[in-house]
């Protein structure tokens, strides 16, 4: 199967450690990702106002590129991109009036009516490969690693775009199990990290982050597993401060799910770009014999 691939801007700079291990892993699994030509930033957040169609243009334009490319599905790795593209896609599918307005506004593009499917990579792994088959491909099981899945918001909310049960998601748990790791469930796994509040009130973010990190810690997790570069920043950048503030807290490594995938598949750890991670995960990996 050949899938269209939508990277998202951050994955080309600060979150190369989300993108590169994904591409290498999919190649190893026999999937070829074909990056959408001439993609533009999706806008990150879905516009929630009824009359605000201009902010739907960016995600829809990307979906038009996928259609032009002749693909029927587009895969994303960033959960924000996933959410924004999928919600815009639903709008184009279900709302005839807004669809017409958007199509005629983009008079230089072909018409679009929601033909393309928007998928998150986790869905592809679950539905196209399957957890059992994935487990078969694992060369270095992540044994002994106690990892807490952190979903954040955009993979699960709103209900119409959720990739799994909104209340009791299991997809990351199953993924981690397939890689041989020990998933650690904790109640804050779907609680928002503060998102774009980092731009307006950076000081409040460390509070939100502490709620999440300390809960994962108290449930026995050694690291958190993420799908989103904004989660990564919000939960990672303030950790130095949190270490100072909270006695006994030594910081918590953050992984992108794709890094764990690449490691378990036995790919060169170089593709994981651990140097870009917050909370230096390398020592944890070394302790467990997963890095030389």
């Amino acid at each position: 199967m050949r899938l269209a691939y939508y990277p998202g801007c951050t994955l080309k700079t600060k979150a190369r450690n989300l993108e590169e291990p994904a591409i290498a892993s999919l190649e190893a699994l026999g999937f070829e990702l074909e990056e959408i030509p001439r993609w533009n930033c999706c806008g990150a957040v879905h516009s929630l106002a009824d009359d605000d169609l201009i902010h739907q243009v960016a995600p829809v334009r990307n979906l038009i590129r996928v259609k032009e490319q002749g693909k029927d599905a587009v895969v994303t790795l960033c959960s924000f991109c996933f959410n924004t593209l999928k919600r815009a896609n639903l709008l184009m599918k279900d709302d005839a009036e807004k669809r017409d307005t958007l199509n005629s506004f983009m008079d230089e593009e072909i018409d679009y009516s929601g033909e393309v499917r928007v998928l998150h990579l986790l869905e592809v792994l679950r539905d196209e490969i399957g957890w059992e088959a994935l487990a078969q491909e694992v060369k270095f099981p992540l044994r002994n690693l106690k990892l807490a899945p952190y979903y954040g918001c955009t993979l699960l909310r709103p209900r119409e775009v959720a990739i799994d049960s909104v209340e009791n998601p299991t997809i990351l748990r199953e993924f981690l199990k397939a890689l041989g790791a020990t998933p650690v469930e904790f109640p804050e796994s779907t609680r928002c990290c503060g998102s774009y509040q980092i731009v307006s009130s950076p000081d409040s973010i460390s509070g939100y982050a502490w709620d999440i990190l300390s809960s994962a810690l108290s449930h026995g997790a050694e690291a958190l597993v993420l799908t989103c570069p904004l989660c990564d920043y919000d939960l990672g950048q303030g950790q130095k401060e949190l270490v100072k503030r909270h006695n006994g807290f030594k910081g918590m490594p953050l992984f992108y799910f794709t890094q764990l995938l690449a490691l378990a598949l036995g790919l060169d750890p170089q593709v994981c770009h651990f140097e870009l991670n917050h909370g230096s995960p390398e020592s944890l990996l070394r302790e467990n014999g997963l890095l030389p």
């Binding site: 801007c9 700079t13 600060k14 806008g43 957040v45 929630l48 709103p158 928002c192 998102s195």
Partner: protein
């Protein structure tokens, strides 16, 4: 919190506009407070999400304008998925934000973000922040 309501203070134009912008039926809400209980940002808000709805449908524009709540909301949709009445509070929050932003009153202006942060924040933060906080 106590608020005084009198015909002179109620802004029916305001109610009409936020209904239009949000596309939501304000009457749906029965004030159970599940949204506030589930909101991860509520501890930093001066008015709870539930209170915002009540004030909004009473047309108390000033009380809402004086509150920081809509700017603390992170559009995480925790309230949306838990509401027993199917009310999408995140859309109401957005509608209220837009009423301000569309008057060219920005909550965050790009040039006011410290230069160091501009270099450190991932693009995703800048894009989403400027979309929610600048008009």
């Amino acid at each position: 919190m106590s608020v005084s309501i009198s015909p002179g203070r109620v802004r029916s134009e305001f109610v009409k506009k936020i209904k239009e912008l949000s596309g939501e039926t304000l009457q749906l809400c029965y004030q159970c407070g599940m949204c506030s209980g589930n909101c991860p940002m509520v501890s930093n808000m001066d008015l709870s999400p539930r209170q915002i709805i009540e004030l909004a449908r009473l047309g108390l524009e000033e009380e809402i304008a004086n509150s920081k709540t809509v700017w603390i909301c992170a559009s995480c949709l925790a309230c949306t998925v838990i509401c027993p009445r199917g009310f999408d509070l995140s859309r109401l929050m957005e509608a209220i934000r837009l009423l301000t932003l569309r008057k060219r009153v920005d909550y965050v202006r790009p040039e006011e973000i410290p230069v160091k942060e501009r270099g450190e924040l991932p693009q995703i933060a800048m894009v989403s922040g400027l979309r929610k906080f600048s008009g």
